[in-house]
């Protein structure tokens, strides 16, 4: 059997080129949404200030901290599995998945509270953008949960050796999950923090 040591110190693109193409395109698309939000905010400052005050800052903060922890777990999982600690790596993937699940539950509760209070997507432009942009991000989280589930199953078979294909898939999945975290960091600043 042909074996090759992983050179983690080598200067190479983690994951595959395709995932980076997707990441860069997704970032550009979200940048346009971010700019649209700030443009509309400048046209209707009172509406956006009122909208921001209606959001639950603590729930937004908790979701941010949860996603940051989840991202850390994924990064630690990649490192553990590449360095031969597949069992530990799987525990980190589980931790990341629990973080993703907590985000989903928190977000659904937050949406439910707002909608039942009358702040649905029809309420005003602020809430229209809020549901559209956080909803699009939510879809990314759901896809990320499917990816984490696949990684969890894939890594169950790893004992001492991991194939280059498995490493690439692991890295691709991790990059995607970090993208989900990264987009949320800006959404949190735009919707919850700036006044």
């Amino acid at each position: 059997m042909n074996t090759t040591a992983i050179d983690t110190g080598a200067r190479r693109a983690p994951g595959e080129i395709g995932i980076w193409g997707f990441v860069l395109c997704d970032l550009i698309v979200f940048s346009l949404y971010f700019m649209t939000f700030l443009y509309e905010r400048a046209q209707r400052p009172e509406m956006f200030l009122e909208g921001s005050h209606q959001l639950n800052l603590n729930m937004g903060l908790i979701n941010t901290l949860v996603l940051l922890a989840s991202s850390l777990f994924v990064a630690l999982a990649v490192q553990s599995i590449r360095s031969g600690q597949a069992v530990l790596g799987r525990k980190y993937i589980l931790g990341a998945g629990l973080g993703g699940a907590a985000f989903i539950v928190n977000k659904m509760i937050e949406w439910g509270i707002k909608i039942s209070a009358g702040y649905d997507a029809q309420y005003d432009l602020f809430f229209q953008l809020y549901y559209m942009m956080t909803g699009l991000h939510f879809l990314h989280v759901l896809v990320g949960m499917v990816v984490l589930t696949y990684l969890w199953k894939m890594t169950a078979a790893i004992r001492t050796n991991v194939t280059p294909r498995q490493v690439r898939f692991l890295e691709n999945g991790a990059i995607y999950w970090h993208l989900v975290d990264l987009i949320w960091l800006v959404l949190f600043a735009l919707f919850y923090l700036i006044k």
Partner: protein, 94 residues
């Protein structure tokens, strides 16, 4: 079948935890800036700037761009810088 023998390699755990700690501190700092310490305009600029510092840290460390070829690192850094600049400009100019 070609497999990769898992070498112990360099341990980046400490560095990853340090970056995560910085991300949490920056998050709490921007949360604090929302209502304290700065005027409304300065707070908006500080919050947006801090959010893109966090984005850069996630890319550089968690996404392992620090190990990536320069074209990829520079593309990501350019996106972070340009987006941050455009958003802060939009927040003030319009």
């Amino acid at each position: 079948m070609s497999t990769v023998a898992l070498s112990k390699g360099e341990d980046h755990t400490k560095s990853l935890i340090q970056v995560w700690t910085a991300l949490v501190v920056l998050t709490l700092l921007s949360w604090w800036f929302r209502d304290h310490g700065l005027g409304p305009d300065a707070a908006v600029a500080a919050i947006l700037f801090i959010s893109f510092v966090k984005v850069y840290l996630v890319g550089h460390s968690f996404m392992e761009l620090k190990f990536a070829p320069s074209w990829l690192r520079h593309s990501f850094t350019a996106w972070c810088s340009l987006s941050c600049l455009l958003l802060i400009t939009l927040a003030f100019v319009l």
